[in-house]
């Protein structure tokens, strides 16, 4: 078979072009750290990476939601903790006021303190968080409790996504903590105690003791709910962290270059190019016609 000179050149040229393309691919992998640098590099992997990226992005959103819910829940727990302490003090005053040896003026002083505690409780129940009033339900810009103790909020749930198909109600129900919906109306209980003390009615003071204990328990239960919510948020966050590691690992396995493999390919192709050039040089230097 005849081998024309052009065949030699085209073979050298084609081999070098093929090696140069491999070199460019290997160099791109080494320098970028990515194996899948475009959808066509590995269409199936690129499609899976897109789904994983979506999942990672959603997880970041869920983490942000957890952060927001945690802020509100921690604030609510703190407020309810103070409210609980407030009722412990009210209970102390009620027990003292129930003592028959107390004078009317002493009970009147206690009544003034109870009135102060009540004002504090109204203030606590009207605490504002970053997302509006903490205990007003969905009416976040409405002051939930009037000085009378009348409730202007609602018990609407506040459902938030903490994971895929994982929605949690993160609302701290103000009605359950501070109205009769939770058992007793804490404001009414304090009002009754203040009235009994100011009127020096020992029997009436004694009669408020059970309700004060109930109101205290009610606040403690709400505080426990906030604590449980915080636990739930932490568990959700841990689950997200674990899932995140798995997602990112899978994404890296699919899309990132194996550094040692990529470097090895780069070196191997570089050697092949050098050898190919050496062969080309030898081939092209054949001298058929002596001058």
């Amino acid at each position: 078979m005849r081998v024309p000179d052009s065949a030699n050149y085209s073979a050298i040229s084609a081999n070098l072009a093929s090696l140069t393309a491999r070199h460019a691919k290997a160099a791109a992998e080494v320098s970028s750290g990515y194996r899948v640098t475009s959808p066509s590099t590995d269409p199936r992997a690129a499609a899976e990476i897109a789904k994983l990226r979506h999942a990672v992005s959603r997880a970041e959103g869920f983490r942000s939601n957890i952060g927001a819910a945690r802020g509100d829940a921690e604030l609510a727990e703190g407020v309810l903790s103070e409210a609980s302490a407030l009722f412990e003090r009210a209970q102390e005053l009620a027990v003292q006021g129930a003592n028959g040896t107390l004078s009317a003026s002493e009970r009147a002083s206690m009544a003034i303190e109870i009135s102060g505690l009540r004002d504090q409780l109204v203030s606590m129940a009207n605490t504002r968080g970053p997302n509006g009033f903490l205990f007003s339900g969905s009416a976040t810009d409405t002051v939930p409790f009037a000085n009378t103790g009348a409730f202007a909020g609602n018990s609407d749930p506040h459902n938030v996504e903490l994971g895929t198909n994982h929605v949690v109600n993160v609302a701290i129900d103000g009605a359950k903590a501070f109205t009769a919906a939770g058992g007793v109306n804490p404001f009414d209980v304090l009002d009754a105690l203040a009235t009994a003390l100011s009127t020096n009615d020992q029997a009436a003071v004694i009669a408020t003791l059970d309700n004060i204990r109930n109101a205290h328990s009610q606040i403690v239960r709400s505080r426990a709910d906030a604590g449980l919510l915080l636990d739930r948020l932490s568990i959700s966050e841990s689950a997200l962290d674990q899932g995140d590691v798995a997602l990112k690992t899978r994404k890296a396995v699919l899309g990132e270059a194996d550094a040692s493999e990529a470097m090895s390919e780069l070196v191997s192709v570089q050697n092949a190019i050098e050898q190919s050039l050496a062969v080309a040089k030898r081939n092209l230097s054949l001298r058929r016609f002596e001058p």
């Binding site: 000179d5 085209s10 899948v36 066509s40 897109a50 979506h54 942000s64 009416a139 609602n154 506040h158």
Partner: protein
């Protein structure tokens, strides 16, 4: 038969071998000339006998070619050009969907759904609302930009097709002219090999633009069919043209002698033109349709849910996105609804007016659409649909690259095969050079010998 006749024999031999040397020199000089087919001097013995002094005659300088291999090369060249064109054009689309270095359409979609999840957590926060509206705007803009880029590329390809057709028509005109010149030269007794080389070079260029079939008649006259339609008939060139059908697809129109132009699109199977047609009216149409479905499905699902909710102003029934009423053109039309532009407070995060301003169930429902099978005819989530679209784009490009590589190899193989017949081999030419040189020297020796004999004869006769 006398000594003088041997002089004639030597003269012819010197002339024949001199032509051989000349042809070898021509071959060596054109070793790197594209389209050059090696020449060979065809030697024939002259009659020898009573009244004929014999000798040798260089009857012809022949171009060494093989029509079958030439046609095969034209075929492979056309297929390779088509595949390369498709590969190069799809590279732009592949890049459009590449999210390695930053979020584009897919990332914007992820961010859009995530922002509504965040809005559900902070429905009354103005910053969160503004971010949610901005992310919807970015998503719409990314979808729109992607679809516009695809549409622009389709428009550019139509222009490119017209340019290629113009080149084809120019080449056809030039080949027809050369045909005329070849015919004239051959009628004048010339072998016209250089003109045939020129014609072959132009035919190669033509085969890169459109699939051709070269038919050579006994007389040497050639007819060239392009995409199945006669483009060149001897010295007459017809023209190709580009038209658009009712669906917006390109049509290749071939001028006919004495009749209306015919649609030759179905005969198109190679060349740059074929690559352009494939990318424009198959690949890009597929991608554009997928994009439209993707945009329409998401916009419809989101709008339905959004309209069910209430903005902070207590009004419901608003769409979040403005989108075309039909799937066709949905991606290019996607934008934020005019009522929402600049009004993040109108985002319908709440599912009821009573739950305002902290109600967030509707924002949650919009966020959850990302996990619902609202795309692909109710078979895929938006993220799965985008991944499928991405995979399809990748597969189209990867397939095109693979086909281009295969066709390039087949073209190289066809070229090598053609070159084994027509290419110049310096080794071979070196041998030819020596062969003709020696024959020339020997002929000179014969001439010298006869001269000496004649000289001796004259000397003896003169005494």
């Amino acid at each position: 038969m006398g000594l003088f006749s041997i002089l004639y024999t030597s003269r012819d031999a010197l002339q024949a071998h001199s032509r051989g040397l000349q042809t070898t020199g021509q071959n060596i000089a054109n070793v790197n000339t594209p389209g050059y087919a090696r020449r060979a001097v065809i030697l024939e013995p002259r009659p020898y006998g009573p009244g004929a002094y014999g000798g040798v005659d260089a009857v012809e300088v022949r171009r060494i070619t093989d029509r079958f291999l030439e046609q095969r090369y034209f075929d492979k060249s056309g297929l390779s050009s088509s595949a390369n064109e498709r590969d190069q054009q799809l590279a732009q689309i592949d890049g459009l969907f590449d999210e390695t270095l930053g979020a584009r359409m897919g990332g914007a979609m992820d961010q859009f759904f995530t922002s509504f999840s965040t809005l559900a957590a902070r429905p009354n926060d103005p910053t969160t609302r503004a971010q949610a509206l901005a992310s919807a705007d970015v998503f719409a803009a990314q979808v729109r930009d992607t679809a516009n880029t695809v549409a622009t590329l389709r428009t550019d390809l139509a222009t490119q097709a017209s340019s290629v057709v113009k080149v084809v028509n120019d080449l056809a005109t030039n080949i027809a002219k050369i045909n005329q010149q070849i015919e004239a030269a051959e009628n004048a007794g010339s072998d016209a090999v250089d003109l045939k080389d020129q014609r072959n070079t132009l035919l190669q260029q033509l085969s890169e633009k459109v699939n051709i079939n070269v038919i050579t008649a006994e007389s040497g006259r050639i007819t060239v069919q392009a995409a199945g339609a006669t483009l060149i008939d001897g010295d007459v060139a017809r023209a190709l043209g580009i038209d658009v059908d009712s669906n917006g697809a390109l049509k290749l129109m071939a001028q006919r002698s004495g009749g209306p132009a015919m649609d030759a699109t179905s005969g198109l199977s190679g060349g740059t033109l074929d690559g352009i047609f494939q990318v424009r009216d198959s690949d890009l149409t597929t991608i554009a349709t997928r994009l439209d479905n993707f945009a329409y499905d998401i916009a419809t699902a989101v709008n339905t849910q959004h309209a069910a909710g209430f903005g902070l102003d207590g009004i419901n029934g608003r769409n979040l996105f403005s989108v075309s009423p039909t799937v066709a053109g949905a991606a290019r039309s996607l934008s934020i609804d005019a009522q929402l532009v600049g009004h993040p407070e109108r985002l319908a995060a709440s599912s009821s007016a009573a739950a305002l301003p902290g109600g967030a169930d509707n924002a949650l429902s919009i966020s959850k659409i990302s996990a619902q099978a609202v795309s692909g005819g109710g078979t895929r989530t938006p993220a799965e649909d985008f991944a499928a679209l991405l995979g399809q784009v990748g597969q189209l490009k990867a397939g095109a690259a693979s086909t281009a590589a295969t066709q390039e190899a087949l073209k190289a193989q066809a070229k090598d095969l053609r070159e084994t017949v027509s290419g110049v081999s310096l080794d071979e030419e070196m041998i030819s050079l020596t062969q003709y040189q020696r024959a020339y020297e020997a002929s000179t020796k014969v001439l010298q010998t006869v001269d000496q004999l004649l000289d001796e004869l004259i000397q003896r006769l003169g005494r």
